[in-house]
Subunit: 357 residues, 2 copies
DNA sequence: ATGAAAGCGCTAACAG
DNA sequence: CTGTTAGCGCTTTCAT
């Protein structure tokens, strides 16, 4: 039943035990662990042998204490009380982060805070308690206390998204060009002959929402289509938000013929509500969305959406964070992960306009 | 710009600095941190004052080293290479775990392994490297190396799900009664007049799949309906699996009139494929699923599914893990989280049978 | 009620 | 190339 397993089940075997067993000094063992080049192959073999025999595993805390580093990355999620958290976006970024972290032998420490205040406290503990070597922020809020704190402390960190106030905060971040993506998407709808294009955004506290909105507006303005207030709505909750937005928009005397929706999950809500109302997509209404999470292709109808390469965002963020750890003096950098439109079946030419065009 | 912030930006303030400032010994400061009852209130105040002034934060690694505990829980996910990972199940369990962990001031350390081997190595490091005080396994595979290892080491851990070999492994776990849930669901379909009920299971390496299958079979047998091999299929990948399963099943000379599907996300795949084939749910085919993740209500049509209280699973698992830490001699326990059927619109009476009944 | 000192397990000068 | 030694920052006997 026992899988391999060291000698004893119990007492911790330390570097000293190994040293004794191998007839060398503890420091030598330490050097072998670090695979120092100044140790003879013979000794290395001898020590490694002893380690194996005793089932030695280095104690992480001791090492961190002596080293002043932890080989772990702190990952900060938005407050988990919120349902945003349920977005499949998160497992996917984490997969990306994990992947890079693994490559370079970093571990992941997760924030668990449910409120902004809790998160702030936690981050403080991570930083000052030396629990992590760097932090990755999985969101970027408009005036974020946590980000400000990290910035002031000169603690290595990366954000996924971007600081709202980019001019005054020189920060390393990984982001999509959400402005351009949103603009492009709106233009696409315009090209399909739509003019009454509504926008359903997320929480306006998030920078991504602002960027989406501006892209949308600029596209309309460039096309000389008026931006209407009743056509831009924002909702915090993903699913309910999508549903409520539809109610608002479809109650308007003049209904939109196309929708730009901030998030795929929200789009699921939108589609559901539309279905209940008997409005068909894309026949009566075209929809285009953002993120391309895995289930997106399974909506009814399959949604056209912008793939933002979530995995890549995570991977790059981890990369930047680790670079910062290795070289704290490194200049900040801004990585833009390319997006791409994934055409499926939720968009269609606007029939009404065809005659007029 | 600076948020509060201690005195200096730079050098680490330690317990000694605080001691000096407060005119006490380091040990006294330590006792104040632990809020020892043998310290006068006066001294406590004085020390706390000094801590505040200096912006003191305890060093976690030092503390862990001295204490032999870390106040952190290791969370082990299934291999993240697999797409299983994208299941919204995970954010939700983690939310549950976080919640309990927070209450008791525990942190979360996440496994990042992409292969079984990597995970095994990682867990070994967590355990022997004293990185965590206990481990929560987020899955239960049929003959899991990690679980066996933890068991052999007598390391505190909990699994979500259950050991396959329950008789021989006395393990604390948190689970649903997946057998009963599956049986109930099948019986429900039977009551609706269905007899040709097919079963689409997940990866047979997971214990939950086995339990589902047995519940399904027993329900049929009790009703004296023959269990047909061509009606039980298993698929690993969630979305593709669902789609492929449908192809298999609908190619059969005698098609099923109802489906029991192992997972909501899989059901999305099933619904998508069915839609493409022009088979309508629930008119032509009834479907019932498991998990009730958040988006489940947004399928087309909204799916009937079994709510397994994912959050609760996580919360209880964390609870058990921490109990084990506090009292390693505590007896193992098995917690069953209740499930409940959430009726929506994917099931319907079997018309064919109505006449014959 | 508080201080002195040893030690948790490892690393990193400094010697040789 | 390898050993000696002094910490890393905190906790915890053992004194007082």
């Amino acid at each position: 039943m026992l899988y391999e397993g060291g000698e004893e089940g119990t007492m911790n075997v330390t570097i000293k035990d190994v040293a004794k067993r191998a007839n060398v000094a503890p420091s030598t063992v330490s050097r072998v662990i670090a695979n120092s080049s100044r140790i003879s192959q013979r000794t290395k073999d001898k020590v490694r042998e002893a380690m194996k025999e005793l089932g030695y595993h280095p104690n992480f805390n001791a090492r961190s204490l002596a080293n002043q580093n932890t080989k772990t990355l702190g990952v900060v999620m938005p407050n988990s009380a919120n349902k945003t958290f349920q977005n499949p976006f998160f497992p996917e970024v984490i997969r990306g982060i994990s992947s890079k972290a693994r490559e370079l032998d970093y571990g992941l420490y997760l924030s668990t805070g449910q409120t902004e205040e809790e998160i702030y406290q936690e981050v403080q503990n991570m930083v000052q308690g030396k629990r992590v070597d760097a932090i990755i922020l999985l969101y970027s809020r408009v005036n974020d206390r946590v980000m400000n704190y990290l910035y002031e402390q000169h603690f290595p960190f990366t954000v996924i998204g971007r600081p709202y106030d980019e001019k005054n905060m020189d920060i390393t971040y990984v982001n999509n060009d959400n402005y351009r993506a949103s603009k492009m998407v709106t233009e696409y709808l315009l090209l399909l002959g739509h003019e009454r294009i509504a926008f359903i955004g997320g929480n306006l506290d998030f920078v991504v929402t602002v960027d989406h909105m501006e892209g949308y507006k600029d596209a309309l303005e460039n096309a000389e289509v008026a931006v209407r207030n009743d056509f831009t709505v924002f909702h915090e909750e993903l699913q309910e938000g999508g549903q409520e937005a539809v109610i608002d928009l479809m109650s308007l005397p003049e209904r939109p013929t196309a929708l730009v929706v901030a998030d795929d999950i929200m789009t699921f809500g939108v589609l559901r509500m539309l279905d209940e109302m008997g409005i068909s997509v894309p026949e009566d209404l075209s929809i285009i969305s953002f993120n391309n999470v895995l289930i997106s292709e399974l909506s009814h109808p399959p949604m056209t959406t912008v793939d933002i390469n979530i995995y890549g965002l995570g991977y790059e963020a981890a990369n930047c964070a680790i670079e910062k750890i290795m070289n704290p003096e490194i200049e900040t950098k801004q990585v833009i992960i390319p997006h791409r439109l994934v055409k499926r079946q939720s968009c269609k030419k606007n029939e009404a306009s065809i005659s007029t065009s």
